[in-house]
Subunit: 65 residues, 2 copies
Amino acid sequence: MCESNAYLKDGENEVMVMESVDSIEPCENGLKLMDIFGKQIFIQARIKDMTLLNHRIILEEICTR
Amino acid sequence: MCESNAYLKDGENEVMVMESVDSIEPCENGLKLMDIFGKQIFIQARIKDMTLLNHRIILEEICTR
């Protein structure tokens, strides 16, 4: 299967926020992620980088002041 | 293989800009795409949406004025 896992970068660490991500849709102030089971989450983050062959999507939080 | 094709949305049409995309890295004013062969392109666009199971990454141009 070709889904990826999404990780949120937190300093040096990467915290997995969603497994088996199918779709990503940027929206106001963040991203809507949906996994292969149809579960959706919203996360206040942007895509930092992604490598599909490694099944990794790295996100970073958006700072709102 | 788990790479996707990247399409640039142009009105109603979608024009393929890169096949077999492995990695995407947002950078200033656009995106750096790299395919599985290591070829890189820069495109003045943002991610509109993507569905990995369908191997589709839809981009939209960034208007700079």
